[in-house]
Amino acid sequence: MSKFSYNQEALKNLNIEDTSILDSLVDFESARAAHLKKPRSKVDKRISLKEAVAEYVSDGDVLSDAGFAYVRTPHQAYFEMMRQGKKGLQVIGAPNTNQSYMINYGTASYSHNSYIGAEMRGTDRNYSRQLKEGKVKILSEWSHGGVALGLKAAQLGAPGLMSKQMLGSDIMKHNPYVSTIQNPLRNDPDPVAFIPALYPDVVVIHAQVADKFGNAFIYGPVVNDSALAVAAKKLIITAEEIVPESSLRYGNGKKGIVIPFIYADAVVELPFGAVPGNMPGYYYWSRQWWEKTLRYASPVEEKFIEHFNEWVMDTKDQFEFVEKLGGAKWVAEARRQTKAAENDNEDIDFAYQEFTVDNDPGIYY
């Protein structure tokens, strides 16, 4: 018998028979054992993205997204996972649309969902299609807050916590990990949702700057990343720039958080690592690229594959991707946009010509 006691109703509703696929995410003992084996010394951990993905991402791993809402999302690392033909990942999305493009290539096969889509740009018709065709299997449904609490529990060294979120909803019936229990401190009925600590197998965090040992500085929305850094069994830090350790200790004038080097397995210098998302301080979203993806590519499988073949599988690296977006001109404009949004540049007009199927601008701000 499994050492874990899963929500039986959820297992039935999700048609999960072999529960061993669920274990790794909540096994704090194996996470602790993995962490105890991490290198402790301050050694130069810099390797290439290719090497980091080859060494630290294994087929079938639970991969949790980092960043949020296409902000600081490590898209370029995900693209490399696809190029290397990684298979069968379980993905925790923030949102899951960051991984739905991996499903079509077999890189992702399972999803833990809290949000799928691209806000005002629309729902994710590719995910919907993949789900109906059985290319992706849902292992658990969550709210954003539910995932955030499970990760916080891990960061706090708490095997689980109680929440008032998700109670009474059908999410509780489609999540094997959570259950409704009585608040142990109360005599009156006080139902609470038990949420276990979550320990993904592998996480890539894209930081503004990092040192070669893995101390990584994030500014802008941290969202869940301080927790993910602690929880991940394997942690790859990618960063726009690698800076001397002394600059994290002395020279850092910006508010933000630092992830300590002892959590990091690998450090990758990766300018434009969050392209086509938003990297605070560095570049705004490629809004038109996302519109092309969601409006042109997502609705039809053939177009979707053609689009991702072009932009990912047949694109060597993030520099080639940026060249296709618009090259040096894009670099300057995208920086101007994010800095203006942050009020670190004079205000600009954010208006732009949206991508439509009839009007492909060829350059993707």
Binding site: L14, F68, E141, K164, G168, A227
Partner: protein, 261 residues
């Protein structure tokens, strides 16, 4: 600019939503129309509100419309930029007065579905977004306002999936399920504004958009709508001043308030 054309339904909705926001309140908003409405409220009758976003930004200094809930414009020189778990925690802890949520379906008790259309999550007719922060805010925030289009499919007797609990099965059932806050206090559609009858917690017409008779509202609803006593009042119409501010200052590019073609 469409500065002299009549207000379109999205603009009217944005105005109605903005009226739900009282001055001196803390407002939790997602992307889309509620964000437009909150910024409109701040520029009109509610200058002293504090806006909170799930990406962690709160009280950003004014700027353009955020393009996403994580956009730097949601944390533009914010004094505080919280991690997500703490941001939702503020709703639990009574620091948020009101939140706005969209829906694909809403039922007679204000339960919301944003998960999928169809009966089976593993094989739906169409998969939608899922919860995002929708469930969290519904579970924790003092007052919820639900916003969406109104058709019989969107207002079914029973939603295909309860993403976010409203009044669950009515009466005291929300509280008995362990949730906190008052739950939904209003549902806003292009046809009108609905509230919930205090005892049964069933959806009830509060006001109707001028020109919309009760019959239209009922015909586009998959369950029996309750009526208030006496005549049904008309919903307020967007004022020329508010429309002007909306078009010139809040969403000048019409990112959120242009009707889809």
């Amino acid at each position: 600019m469409k500065s002299d054309t009549p207000a379109n339904p999205l603009e009217m909705l944005a105005y109605i939503i903005s009226l739900q926001i009282e001055n001196d309140s803390v407002v939790y908003v997602g992307t889309g129309l509620p964000m437009v409405a909150a910024i409109l409220a701040r520029k009109t009758h509610a200058p002293n509100i504090t806006i909170v976003y799930e990406s962690g930004g709160q009280d950003p200094i004014p700027g353009d419309m955020p393009w996403s809930v994580g956009c730097p414009l949601t944390w533009r020189k914010s004094a505080v930029l919280m991690e997500m778990a703490y941001s939702f925690g503020q709703s639990f802890n009574g620091y948020v007065d009101i939140a706005f949520l969209g829906f694909a379906q809403v039922d007679m008790y204000g339960n919301v579905n944003t998960h999928h259309i169809g009966k089976d999550l593993t094989n739906p007719k169409a998969r939608l977004t899922g919860s995002g922060g929708n469930n969290d805010l519904s579970s924790l925030t003092e007052k919820m306002v639900l916003v969406g289009l109104q058709t019989p499919e969107r207002f079914p007797e029973k939603v295909d999936f309860i993403t976010s609990v409203g009044h669950l099965e009515g009466g005291n059932s929300r509280k008995e399920a362990g949730l906190i806050g008052q739950g939904p206090v209003a549902v806003i559609s292009p046809w009108g504004i609905y509230d919930f009858e205090p005892e049964t917690k069933r959806m009830r017409v509060k006001t109707l958009t001028p020109g919309i008779p009760f019959e239209i509202a009922q015909q586009t609803t998959g369950f029996e709508l309750l009526k208030p006593e006496g005549e049904i009042p008309e919903s307020p119409m967007i004022t020329p001043e508010a429309l002007h501010i909306l078009r010139t200052d809040v969403d000048p590019n019409g990112v959120f308030t242009t009707m889809p073609s």
